[in-house]
């Protein structure tokens, strides 16, 4: 009898190669490695930034220089040598694009391999894509439709030129330059990213979407995203990431800031599958990301993330519930395999009255990976009637992986209601046999069980991306049978 066991599955997973491990040979312009004030100035100059921006970066750099890398997370990795990283890389042939025909064919090919060909994307109803490739945006679509509504959606480098008053007003207000080591570094050297502004009362008619890629070997990627939803507005934003296979570890230290003014709502969804390293834990992306949103009165911010990639993940999308009646949500699926390590979760800071937060975290560990949920729920003394519900579920595959939960609760107001639930389960032999008996093979059965386990979070993703995320979960866990 051909016995297909969990061990067989594990073996299979070990031999699975990273699907997106290819390298696009586009001429790039890269700065020499290392970081000092001159490099920061050079980056700013390269991007033709105004004086205030250069000073802002320099101040961040000076703060960063005095900081040390945090080591409290449940992850272990060789600390990057920050003087051995090139801090700027831009595709050399920077095309001014009037149509897709003008895009570098190699680049288009890369997008096709990623399954995000712009041709397709353009046809995809209601999705505007701003593609960031090695730090410089090379294509923007749907700009016109958005423009008619007064919505600004552009690379942040362009926004600094065209809307300096908006950028200056909000940049660094949610994540200050001195917030943490990686945020300070990002503030000093960020290369590009996206800027989005939704005017008062406007409901953004389409999902806004950005794909990030790390392409040039040995270059760090420091994205900066700023989304501002003015009073009574609504926007749903999706960020998706893939990176080609590389032997040396690559550093990714992004900062995302969300501002939801009174009665505004922001949905921010992420699908992340940066190169996780090979079966021996060699290579892979270090993903140290700071994401935070600020909610004013009656505002709502939802973070939804599907994390399947990166060798090391350090990421806590958070909400500051400043205004009364504001709502924060965090829905997360984190999958780790091989030697991947993820320390991810959220912070819900309740400042206003009647503020509500919900945390649903689903961790799936396979191989020799370590998967940690780390979350903070903080109820401030003035936050009357604050409520939080947290649910952290872990699913284990095999005996060599680990799942950890670190929930922190700090409350200074007696009227707070806080609930925390946690479960840990394993995919059972009896579940697999049941599926097999109904004609479903083990590989498909695992996909089915994992999707069921993750359903509450998958349901929070915009429709077209839920399908993509489901596919990604299967790719990450299934191996490459048949």
């Amino acid at each position: 009898m051909s016995k297909y066991t969990e061990e067989d599955l594990e073996k299979e997973l070990k031999t699975k190669e990273y699907e997106y491990g290819f390298y696009t040979d586009i001429e790039s312009e890269t700065f020499a490695k290392g970081l000092n004030e001159d490099v920061v100035r050079a980056i700013s100059k390269k991007k033709n930034e105004p004086e205030w921006m250069t000073e802002w970066r320099l101040e961040a750099y000076r703060v960063w220089k005095k900081m040390t890398e945090p080591d409290w997370a449940n992850v272990h990795y060789p600390k990057p040598n920050f003087q051995d990283i090139a801090y700027y890389s831009a595709p050399k042939k920077k095309p001014k694009l009037n149509s897709l025909d003008e895009v570098d064919p190699d680049l288009l090919d890369t997008f096709k391999k990623l399954g995000i060909s712009i041709d397709e994307q353009k046809k995809l109803a209601n999705v505007a894509v701003d593609i960031v490739m090695d730090s410089v945006s090379v294509a923007t679509t749907f700009k016109k439709t958005l423009g008619e509504k007064g919505i600004i959606f552009m690379p942040i480098s362009e926004a600094i030129q065209e809307h300096p008053e908006l950028v200056k007003k909000y940049l660094g207000t949610v994540v200050p330059t001195s917030d943490n080591f990686y945020a300070a570094l990002n503030s000093a050297v960020f290369s590009d990213g996206s800027f989005c502004y939704i005017p008062k009362g406007v409901k953004c008619p389409m999902e806004l979407s950005t794909y990030f890629r790390i392409n040039e070997g040995g270059t760090g990627q420091f994205e900066r995203t700023l989304v501002v939803a003015d009073e009574g507005s609504y926007v749903s934003y999706l960020e998706g990431c893939t990176a080609p296979q590389r032997d040396e570890n690559q550093l990714h230290a992004a900062v995302v800031e969300l501002v939801a003014m009174d009665d505004a709502e922001i949905k921010y969804s992420t699908v992340q599958n940066w190169f996780p390293g090979d079966e021996n834990g060699k290579g892979g992306v270090f993903n140290f990301v700071t994401k935070r949103g600020l909610c004013e009165t009656n505002a709502k911010i939802s973070w939804t993330q599907v994390e399947t990639g990166s060798a090391v993940t350090w990421k806590y999308p958070s909400c500051i519930l400043k205004g009364n009646n504001s709502v924060g949500e965090f829905y997360s699926i984190a999958v780790t395999n091989h030697y991947q390590q993820a320390d991810t979760g959220t912070k819900m800071i309740h400042l206003g009255k009647n503020t509500k937060s919900t945390i649903i975290s689903k961790g799936i560990s396979a191989g020799k990976s370590q998967n940690s949920y780390r979350g903070l729920v903080q109820i401030n003394s003035r936050a009357e009637n604050a409520r939080n519900f947290s649910q952290c579920d872990s699913l284990l595959m095999g005996n060599a992986c680990g799942a950890h939960t670190f929930p922190y609760i700090e409350t200074k107001n007696k009227s707070a209601q806080i609930e925390h639930e946690a479960t840990t389960s394993k995919i059972g032999e009896d579940q697999l046999f049941y599926c097999n008996q109904r004609g479903i093979d083990t590989e498909k059965a695992i996909a089915l069980i994992v999707n069921g386990f993750s359903k509450e979070v998958l349901n929070k993703l915009p429709m077209e991306f839920a399908v993509e995320a489901q596919k990604l979960l299967e790719i990450s866990l299934e191996g490459s049978v048949g």
């Binding site: 009898m1 016995k3 046999f433 049941y434 097999n436 008996q437 109904r438 069921g452």
Partner: protein, 249 residues
């Protein structure tokens, strides 16, 4: 349809089946009865291909083909269905999604395209009516929080959807109240045809009042020790299993 010859099987070095012979033809209903520990569930699991057992001797043929080397899903694709005594829960996977996946995987194995959504819906509606299943039930997570009766009804619903050639019902009557028993039995009877066969595994005569067997076998200590018609079940009910045990001595 099913031909089992001299089947020996053990688990953890403990011998359970000790030379079981059974032949089931298309259009027939067989009942296997026997006391606890006789090997009834082991028999069902081995035919379905569960891998925990060590099959040391004997053959299992389905329509002339030896299936003992096939994986459980391959046996399912060949038309074997097992209604579980204790159906497992799969959180977050709805009854509809599960059965859709099962049907399409079987179709794929036969080189067919996925069943069109319209046909699938029609079939689901038809079969759920047959088993008096509420539509809301179909969107619930598989077996999660189901009552004993709901679980068994769901098993027979899946059987109705998959249209197997050989269905083995492992203690489908346990945990059923009299109304649920009637519905489930009624469902099985409607699915019966001259082209398929049913093996009913049970402790009690009760279910056999509704699903009338052509043959009744008594399984004792890993072997079929007595075979008769429906009246054997009544006799067992009246005299108890000790009667068989005494007869064997």
């Amino acid at each position: 349809m099913l031909k089992i010859n001299n089947l020996h099987a053990s688990i953890d070095e403990k011998s359970i089946l000790k030379g079981l012979n059974l032949e089931v033809n298309a259009g027939e209903v067989h009942a296997i009865m026997g006391p606890n520990g006789a090997g009834k569930s082991t028999f069902a699991n081995i035919v379905a291909g569960k891998e925990d057992y060590d099959v040391s001797n004997g053959t299992i043929e389905l329509n002339g083909e030896d299936i003992s080397e096939l994986a459980p899903e391959e046996r399912a694709h060949n038309g074997v269905f097992l209604s579980f005594q204790y159906p497992v829960e799969i959180p977050g996977v709805s009854v509809t999604n599960f059965i859709k996946t099962a049907i399409n995987e079987s179709r794929k194995a036969r080189g067919l395209e996925d069943m069109p959504a319209k046909d699938m819906l029609k079939k689901i509606r038809e079969k759920s009516e047959l088993l008096e299943i509420d539509r809301k039930f179909l969107s619930r997570s598989l077996n999660e929080g189901f009552s004993g009766g709901e679980k068994k009804r769901n098993e027979i619903f899946q059987m109705a959807m998959l249209e197997p050639k050989l269905a083995i019902l492992d203690e489908t009557d346990s945990g059923l109240d009299i109304d649920a028993l009637r519905i489930v039995a009624n469902g099985v009877n409607k699915l019966k045809s001259k082209d398929n066969a049913v093996i009913v595994i049970t402790h009690y005569q009760r279910l056999l009042d509704y699903i009338v067997p052509d043959f009744v076998h008594v399984l004792h200590d890993g072997k079929i020790v007595k075979t008769g018609d429906a009246s054997l079940a009544l006799e067992l009910e009246a005299k108890g299993y000790d009667w068989i045990k005494k007869e064997l001595v």
